[in-house]
Symmetry: C2
């Protein structure tokens, strides 16, 4: 469940920045298909990749996990 909720939160924040999955994944040097599967909640993503995404979204980890 947490994987789905985190994926949805990442997507929500990415869309707020007006970025496509491709542009965002490129901006943080992450494989686009991997990033797409993270947003779908299909990945047991690691802390280093979570941090990379939060930095790319320009938000803190705490904000990323707010109310999840």
């Amino acid at each position: 469940m947490i994987r789905k909720k985190l994926g949805q939160r990442i997507k929500e924040k990415r869309l707020q920045l007006g970025l496509s999955q491709e542009k965002f994944a490129l901006s943080i040097n992450m494989d686009r298909t991997y990033f797409a599967s993270v947003e779908k909640g299909k990945r047991n993503i690691s802390i280093l990749n979570i941090e990379k995404i939060a930095k790319g979204l320009n938000i803190s980890l705490s904000e990323l996990f707010q109310e999840l």
Copy 2:
């Protein structure tokens, strides 16, 4: 760096509960040596294990990452 900071935060919260590594790891059904290495910042821990630890510490993920 985030692995170290998260490990220290987990240790801090565990000690506030007055639990040993062994007792805490047992309480969340996590291997004690793995948990010890998480606290030392040696693991690129996954979201499912982070959630397991936060639940065991009885705090939200957002609180776990507060100011990290």
